[in-house]
């Protein structure tokens, strides 16, 4: 133990004896580890954020999209009669709620403020399916659906854009396609990505939407249907029931493929998880290459060091150092070099992900990079291994020197 401590002390003395060179040597490792940590933390943050916004769609939900997956061209539109069929509790006991959805990019304005955003037309059940909570006012109800009332529920970000405030807007009027609508509710902030921000969206009765906003080529057609299963265990059964019902209502023969696609939220979450996982691996793989290059830098400098210190190696051998002693001495040095680089790199990666987090927060992207403990440990371990791996050859070279020749070296 004392012996090891002395070897480490000596290696540190050698590393700090030539600070500039040591710093330049570890720079590659610093950048390598820094970018791996940065990428992994951003990847973890992105995963959290995406999974969060998928969960915000609602729990135990199943989407029905028109068309077979990948073959949208000859899709048969989904209609309100599909929704009615799916709502039959006798035929679909595992389905809790169903809502048709019509989506439209529309222009919405209030006074001088005008913008284009996504409005959803749905049933009143959609609030429960999707877990929409209201900060103020209320969601539209069956009466609003039946009477096609010109009422909208808007997200807090949208309220901010239109009225310059996030609350106290219920009862105000907005204009959509130049027709007046009354704001009856504002949703609670959910957060989301720039491309899918529920806080910037609005909701209205589907009947209102169909009558006043969307021009339909097929009567009563809907963009998609959202189904909520009784609970997570009944999702597969609910999917089975929905498939049966839709095949019948679309009059598909046994040989025909589905002309619709059923996707449950869990699948989407899994796919998104896989995608972000692949992205993370890809990004950190690229970052890992810089770690490799850093390791080669260490090998390069260690080879120079070994050559420079040939006569020292000769002396140590003359004084009784065995091959293993010399080997350990140089491996300790390269291992410590890259360990120091790794520690600096963790700092750099941390700073990097902190900056990215700040930048994301400033530009409204809800991405919070997560530096995980295991990532830090892994990076430390890996960088040390890189040092040992790339230090092996120079150390071997030093250990195998013939003492007579090494001593003769100038």
């Amino acid at each position: 133990m004392m012996r090891f401590f002395r070897v480490v002390k000596e290696a540190l003395a050698s590393i700090f004896g030539n600070k500039t060179r040591s710093f330049l040597t570890v720079l590659g490792i610093v950048i390598g580890v820094g970018s791996v940590i940065g990428m992994l933390s951003i990847g973890a943050g992105a995963q959290d954020s995406i999974l969060g916004s998928i969960e915000s769609i609602g729990t135990n939900t199943i989407f029905v999209m028109p068309g077979e997956l990948g073959e949208v061209t000859n899709a048969k539109a989904l209609t309100i009669s599909d929704v009615d069929a799916l709502s039959n509790r006798m035929r679909a006991p595992h389905i809790l709620r169903v809502s048709p959805m019509v989506m439209s990019q529309t222009n919405v304005s209030s006074g001088e403020n005008s913008l284009t955003t996504t409005f959803f037309g749905s049933y009143a059940e959609y609030a429960d399916i999707s877990g929409i909570d209201l900060a103020e006012g209320s969601f539209f109800n069956q009466t609003d659906i039946d009477s096609r009332s010109a009422a909208v529920v808007i997200g807090p970000d949208l309220a901010e854009e239109l009225f310059g405030r996030r609350s106290g807007v219920v009862g105000n009027e907005v204009r959509i396609n130049n027709s007046p609508y009354r704001v009856i509710g504002v949703t609670k902030a959910k957060g989301g990505t720039q491309f899918n921000n529920p806080d910037m969206q609005g909701y209205m009765p589907i009947t209102t939407m169909q009558m006043r906003i969307v021009r339909q080529s097929i009567p009563n057609s809907v963009s998609y249907i959202i189904i909520q299963a009784q609970d997570s265990a009944s999702i597969p059964l609910a999917i089975e029931e929905a498939q049966q019902i839709l095949r019948e209502s679309h009059r598909l023969s046994a040989r025909q493929e589905n002309d619709f696609t059923l996707t449950n939220q869990e699948d989407v979450a899994n796919i998104a998880g896989q995608v972000t996982g692949i992205l993370t691996v890809l990004l950190s793989g690229i970052a890992g290459i810089s770690l490799l290059v850093g390791g080669i830098g260490i090998m390069n400098i260690m080879l120079v060091t070994v050559t420079e210190r040939t006569s020292e190696i000769g002396l140590r051998k003359a004084l009784g150092a065995r091959k293993m002693d010399i080997m350990i001495q140089f491996l300790t040095e390269s291992g410590l070099l890259s360990l120091i680089g790794g520690i600096l790199g963790i700092g750099l990666g941390w700073a990097f992900s902190f900056l990215i987090g700040n930048y994301a927060a400033n530009s409204g992207v809800p991405l919070v990079p997560v530096v995980q403990t295991e990532t830090v440990l892994l990076a430390t371990l890996f960088s040390t291994l890189v040092g040992l791996f790339f230090g092996w050859y120079p150390a071997q070279k030093a250990a195998n020197m013939e003492p007579v020749e090494a001593l003769r070296h100038e």
Partner: protein, 229 residues
Amino acid sequence: MENPVIQIRNMTKVFHLGGGNDVHALRGVSLDIYPGEMVAIMGPSGSGKSTLMNMIGCLDSPTSGEYHLDGLQVSSLVDDELAMARNQKIGFIFQKYNLLPRANAIENVELPMRYSENTDDMTGRAKEMLKLVGLEERMNHKPNELSGGQQQRVAVARALVNHPAIILADEPTGNLDSVAGQEVMDLLLKLNREKGTTIVIVTHDPGVASQAQRIIRLFDGKIVEGGLE
């Protein structure tokens, strides 16, 4: 009479330079050196004296022949055993002192102990040796803060610290002026006289060699004076 501490019989060393060029550096050398002796090995360059020194110092293995060092049959040892033999049996002194530039005098003297079994109180033992060579005032100095003569005395202390069977000095005064050189020689003579340390000096300087009790002269890979038959 005591057994010789160094016993070499019919030692040869051939260097294969490639292309069929063989250099016969040693052509059958036999010699005995007894405990407490101070012996000088002389010879012109190319005579094989450096090769002989490397053999005595266990730095290299002979092509043929026998070498016993303090009861150890050196010719049969492998690398790590040779390292151990160097560590325990031999104290090296080099022409250029070969001190570690970043380490102070104590740490330099500690170096051979680090590669030995006994690592107790290395600092204390190093200090003791530095006192013996008269450097107690400069123990914390680094080599570049010491004169050439002082550096060579640090090297002498380093050579003594593991209590080796012999001190093997390679041109110990070669880099020193005559005064500093004589100081180092006086130190070696004193060690030999007072402590009975066996000392082998390889030199081409007749002034140095003349202070030894015996001179072994080499020429063309053979001993021409001071060896056995």
